[in-house]
């Protein structure tokens, strides 16, 4: 049946919406946090897995968005939604600026620069505690004035679906091709007519916008905000989630985020050892299963319902005659 995977996923989401009342409050919280991480992992993957820009400053954007929203609301009394939107918009602009600044940076230089940016943001938020309350925590306005988590649950699902829809649209459009070509060979992409600078800035803007979206939701859900939102510890966890799931694709990164978050809860009894275990799994995954642990599962899932077409003998023979092999071997 065509599109079976899509139906399955949609049913899952629908089931989540319908049976929300059945969740107990604690697990609903875990699921909400999992979706928060999912948006972060997905947008980080867009930046690093698709465009090849390994930013270690992703959490800084979540933090900037959250603080901007919280402080704007505090100073001007604007409605919460407006504050959140402003936080996202402002952060998108900051992201675009960072993307512009990083235009000529590659690989480790980009990583170091974004790491530096992230640390500066965290230190500033932490030090200027007259404004931000620093490590004591900034109290934010709650998004919903109710004790129930259910509206937050629905909102989180909505935001996640929206984020994935937008990112999925980008990835499957020609923009997705252009981003991947930039990742593969930037010079050749330019020679093929791709506006490299434009797309690098764009992808930074989009990714940071989504990070900010996650951040503003987080801030107005928990009701309290500290500079640790932008810390390296959280950044590493997002990286761990995306890499273990599979940083080549958005669905696997999302799977990694949700999986790791739930695993964190299940393994609560192990306390600090959880993080050590995740670290080991990350190293193992990079060393032996570079594409991520969920990628083989996802590839199978996507093919559900397809009729297997046998590869024609002619195509096989042609492939062999062309001496297909790694570069350098074979015919030349």
């Amino acid at each position: 049946m065509r599109g079976l995977p899509t139906y399955l996923l949609a049913s899952l989401v629908l089931a989540g919406l319908v049976y929300a009342h059945g969740f107990n409050s604690y697990w609903m919280h875990v699921t909400i946090i999992a979706m928060f991480y999912a948006i972060l992992a997905a947008s980080w993957t867009l930046l690093s897995g698709y465009a090849g820009l390994y930013s270690l400053g992703h959490m800084a954007f979540a933090s900037i968005g959250a603080y901007t929203s919280a402080l704007l609301i505090q100073w001007t009394g604007m409605p919460t939604i407006l504050g959140m939107a402003s936080g996202v918009v402002f952060c998108t602009v900051v992201g675009a600026w960072i993307g512009w600044v990083c235009l000529r940076m590659t690989g480790p230089y980009l990583a170091i620069f974004t790491l530096a940016f992230s640390e500066i943001v965290r230190i500033v938020f932490s030090t200027e505690d007259e404004v931000t309350q620093g490590m004591a925590g900034l109290h934010t306005v709650f998004l919903f004035h109710t004790d129930s988590r259910i509206p937050y649950f629905y909102t989180a699902i909505g935001l996640l679906v929206f984020s994935l829809a937008v990112m999925g649209f980008i990835v499957h459009s020609r923009w997705g091709l252009f981003l991947r070509s930039i990742r593969e060979e930037e010079q050749a992409a330019a020679a093929s007519g791709v506006r490299v600078a434009y797309f690098r800035i764009l992808v930074f803007a989009v990714a940071s916008g989504f990070a900010a979206l996650a951040g503003v939701f987080y801030g107005h859900y928990l009701g309290i905000l500290t500079p640790s939102l932008g810390s390296l510890d959280l950044m590493i966890i997002v990286v761990v989630m995306a890499v273990i799931g599979g940083m080549e694709r958005i669905p696997t990164a999302v799977g990694g985020a949700i999986g790791i978050e739930f695993l964190q809860e299940y393994l609560r009894a192990y306390g600090e050892w959880r993080l050590v275990i995740f670290g080991l799994v990350l190293l193992f995954t990079m060393r032996f299963a570079r594409n991520g642990l969920l990628t083989p599962l996802w590839l199978q899932f996507v093919r559900l319902g397809e009729v297997r077409r046998p590869v024609s003998a002619a195509a096989q023979a042609a492939a062999a005659a062309g001496e297909v092999g790694p570069q350098g071997s074979g015919g030349s």
Binding site: G52, R104, F113, I123, G279, L282, M286
Partner: protein
């Protein structure tokens, strides 16, 4: 202007500078040979400090012996890491080596830091001094520990420079850093030298950690700041230039200390002194994206 305060800060700056130089030299060495930025370097520094501590308290080593022992232990650990996790960097079948290097070393840092948190505990520990007492020069009083750090640190750096420039091993390392293939043709086993480079870098970081521990004490996240500063230093001093990193490391230590001295608000000064290095880094990268002395990675033949 309180000159004695300034003098104290300048002296502190010199001591910190030597430590930064030791750490940065390791990062530079690893970058030139393995072509990756070792994001776990700060945690090797941390490991060095803790190893020395436990050698003293559990095995009864004298402080100097513990320093040597710690260097040896982390050296061995460095070889282990390189052999298990970093060998894909040399295989032509590995794609996106940059990405691999970043994520693996980042993940290693994560693993080491959290393991340290559990095994060593989150509370600060302080090993005994290398040389108790205080040295007085005129109006200036410097603890002997700091003097020890400066002297031993400088000796280690000089030893490394000698090793790199005057011994056959060092020159082989230089050859490998320039071209693995050419080095192989001349009979140099590049694989062994990668392990050597990583291990030496790690051992130097460990030495820095062990030296500084009696002064500033140990904590599992003590490596974060030197880590970030070492990137500042290699980018300022030139990725791949050992001499440049030493000079830049020393300068950064001094500059940071003097910056703290001149900042009017003391509470802010302390927090922002941590950000000093990163701020410099950001500005430098914005102006010269390949660092002050790096070559532009132009892909023209």
């Amino acid at each position: 202007m309180d000159y004695s305060y300034l003098a104290i800060q300048a002296t502190n700056g010199a001591v910190i500078g030597v430590i930064y130089a030791l750490v940065a030299v390791g990062v530079t060495l690893i970058f030139s040979i393995l072509k990756i930025v070792n994001f776990a370097h700060g945690d090797l520094y941390m490991l060095g400090g803790y190893t020395a501590y436990y050698l003293i308290t559990l095995a009864g080593f004298p402080p100097l012996g513990a320093l040597v022992g710690s260097m040896a232990a982390v050296f061995a650990f460095g070889i282990l890491i390189e052999r298990t996790m970093l060998t894909p960097l040399y295989s032509p079948r590995t794609e996106r080596k940059d990405e691999y290097g970043i994520i693996v070393t980042f993940g290693l840092a994560f693993f080491l830091r959290n393991t340290a948190l559990i095994v060593f505990g989150p509370f600060a520990l302080k090993p005994p001094s290398f040389a108790p007492g205080v040295l007085r020069i005129g109006a200036l009083a410097v603890t002997n520990d700091r003097v020890f750090v400066a002297v031993v640190g400088t000796l280690l750096i000089l030893a490394l420079l000698y090793f790199m420039n005057r011994t056959i091993w060092g020159q082989a390392l230089d050859a490998v850093s320039q071209s693995r293939d050419s080095a192989a043709i001349v009979g140099i086993n590049a694989g062994r030298f990668n392990s050597l480079a990583y291990a030496v870098g790690a051992a130097l970081a460990a030495a820095a950690g062990a030296l500084i521990a009696p002064i500033f004490s140990l904590s599992p996240d003590m490596g974060i700041l030197p880590n970030i500063n070492s990137y500042v230093i290699v980018i300022l001093g030139g990725m791949g230039s050992v001499g440049g990193s030493i000079a830049a490391g020393f300068l950064l230590g001094e500059a940071q200390a003097l910056f703290t001295a001149f900042l009017p608000d003391p509470t802010r000064a302390l927090s922002y002194s941590n950000a000093f290095g990163v701020l410099v880094l950001m500005i430098v990268l914005m102006v010269r994206p390949t660092g002050l002395f790096g070559r532009r990675h132009v892909r023209m033949e």
